[in-house]
């Protein structure tokens, strides 16, 4: 009786079958428990390595486009490739903000020096480029530098994770890879626009301003910013935009301050139009309205506009044309052109309903003026 019960506890049947069942069981335990992390590391590493191959291709291609554009448009006397490769390592150190007093002035100074270095360098490698092409070359150089930096940072974290065998470092970079690639693709797709001078999504603001400036003489009002005095239904519009059609953003803060200080209390409103990052699910080209300084600079220009508007108690209207980050740096899409048309009507409506005849209205089209002339 007892022997029968003990026998029931033991496996029965073909002994080979039992042996192989045991082997399968051990194999599965090894696969899913012992080597689990090892496999995960392999998959994450492979994902990051694949992304690196893609990023490397983007960097090489962007350098090719940059060299070709510099040679075609700048006609340099010597081969510029060595100088460009060296300049790609250029960096900017942000001012210390532990003591925030005067940080925006210090930041503005550093940004001015950066812009000056870019300009000097482009003049050196492309001495025969016209002003608009030189401005586009500055943008193209900035895009290539951004792609190079993205590639190097991704590679850094991959190598770091391999050297330290840190799953945490690897996991972070592996999960960030889709977003990194998205940004890199946006820059990569902008190469065509910047090398040929086509308007990009970010040119929406200057395009709106340009529509008002059309047929009116313009004059320089601040660094790389032009203005036009435009009569509109009994009001005087002072329309501002970056000097086009080269890829410039200018210093619209200085321009707004200069115009407001000139007209003081006569200025009834400041209207700012800019491309704004849309949320996922929002329609490209959708126009939204709000209040505040619609400008995406690092800080100094926005501060100047807010300061002068507060000083004279001038209401600030913001009109935003929604687009994704990718669309902002790629050749302008039809939906954004439609958004520009809608924004022009929205601005006209603001002027008609919120100002009266005889008022002065400042209209600033904020953004990169690449591919958009001055009207």
């Amino acid at each position: 009786m007892l022997s029968i019960k003990l026998a029931q506890l033991l496996p029965s049947g073909d002994p080979y079958q039992m042996l192989f069942s045991l082997i399968y069981l051990l194999a599965f335990i090894m696969l899913f428990m012992v080597f689990n992390q090892h496999f995960q590391r392999m998959w994450w590493t492979r994902d990051v390595e694949k992304a690196l191959v893609k990023l490397d291709r983007y960097v090489k291609r962007s350098k090719e486009v940059l060299y070709k554009t510099v040679v075609d448009q700048g006609k340099p006397d010597a081969d510029p490739s060595k100088a460009i490769d060296d300049f790609l390592e250029f960096f900017v150190i942000e001012p210390v903000d532990k003591d925030p007093y005067g940080v925006l002035k210090r930041l503005e100074h550093i940004l001015d020096v950066e812009r000056s270095r870019f300009r000097t360098f482009v003049a050196y490698i492309a001495p025969r480029a016209d002003p608009a092409s030189a401005a586009n070359l500055e943008d193209l150089l900035a895009v290539t530098m951004a792609l190079n930096l993205i590639y190097k940072i991704t590679r850094h974290y991959l190598i770091l994770s391999k050297r330290t065998k840190s799953l945490l470092v690897l996991m972070q970079i592996a999960y960030a890879v889709p977003l990194i690639l998205r940004t890199a693709e946006a820059y990569y797709n902008s190469l065509d626009a910047f090398s040929t001078g086509k308007p990009i999504g970010d040119s929406a603001g200057p395009m709106v301003a340009g529509r008002f400036m059309l047929g009116h003489p313009c004059f320089q009002v601040a660094e790389d910013v032009v203005a036009s005095e435009v009569p509109f239904e009994g009001r005087t519009l002072i329309v501002l935009k970056a000097d086009g059609p080269g890829g410039k953003v200018g210093k619209p803060g200085d321009a707004v301050v200069k115009v407001v200080e000139e007209h003081r209390e006569r200025v009834a409103r400041i209207i700012m139009v800019d491309a704004a990052a849309k949320l996922e699910g929002e329609r490209t080209g959708q126009v939204a309205e709000g209040v505040g300084a619609a400008i995406g600079d690092p800080g100094p220009e926005k501060y100047k506009i807010e300061e002068v508007a507060t000083k004279y108690k001038i209401p600030l209207d913001a009109v935003a044309i929604k687009e994704s980050i990718e669309e902002a740096v790629s050749t302008m899409k039809k939906e954004i052109v439609d958004g520009v048309e809608a924004a022009v009507e929205r601005v006209k409506n603001i002027i008609r309903t919120r100002t009266k005849e005889g008022d002065v209205v400042v209209l600033a089209g904020i953004g990169n003026s690449i591919g958009v002339g001055n009207g």
Binding site: Q17, L19, T196, M213, L214, P245, T331
Partner: protein, 119 residues
């Protein structure tokens, strides 16, 4: 060369797996060995299929064509042209054919080309 062998290897392994299934149904005494071989061939076939899937290239984005919209300052004239180097928005193009008003480029935008086989 080695990569091009992967699909062949996967197909051969899958065929061998089918043969072993048939063999295990007809032969009674070699069940254990056959099942082990079946397991191994399935692993090889799966690895081959995964490798094939990894080799598959992602679809390439169609190159957009760029359109230039020409309008007249005086009338409702509007014309779409293919983009040419040197064009920019608000560029003046001289007098128009219809009303004699000045023509200018009112917009430049990209239109994504439809992929082959799509409407």
């Amino acid at each position: 060369m080695a990569r091009s062998l992967i699909p062949t290897l996967a197909a051969a392994s899958a065929a061998l797996a089918l043969v072993l299934v048939a063999l295990s149904l007809t032969t009674r005494h070699v069940g254990a060995v056959v099942s082990l071989l079946f397991f191994l061939t399935l692993v090889v076939a799966s690895a081959g299929l995964i490798a094939m899937a990894a080799q598959r290239k992602p679809p390439t984005r169609p190159t957009p064509s760029v359109v230039t919209v020409v309008s007249c300052l005086n009338c409702e004239y509007r014309e779409e042209r293919e983009y040419r180097a040197g064009a920019f928005v608000l560029k003046k193009l001289g007098s128009g054919a219809k009303c004699g008003g000045e023509l200018f480029i009112s917009a430049i935008y990209a239109v994504a080309k439809a992929r082959e086989g799509q409407a």
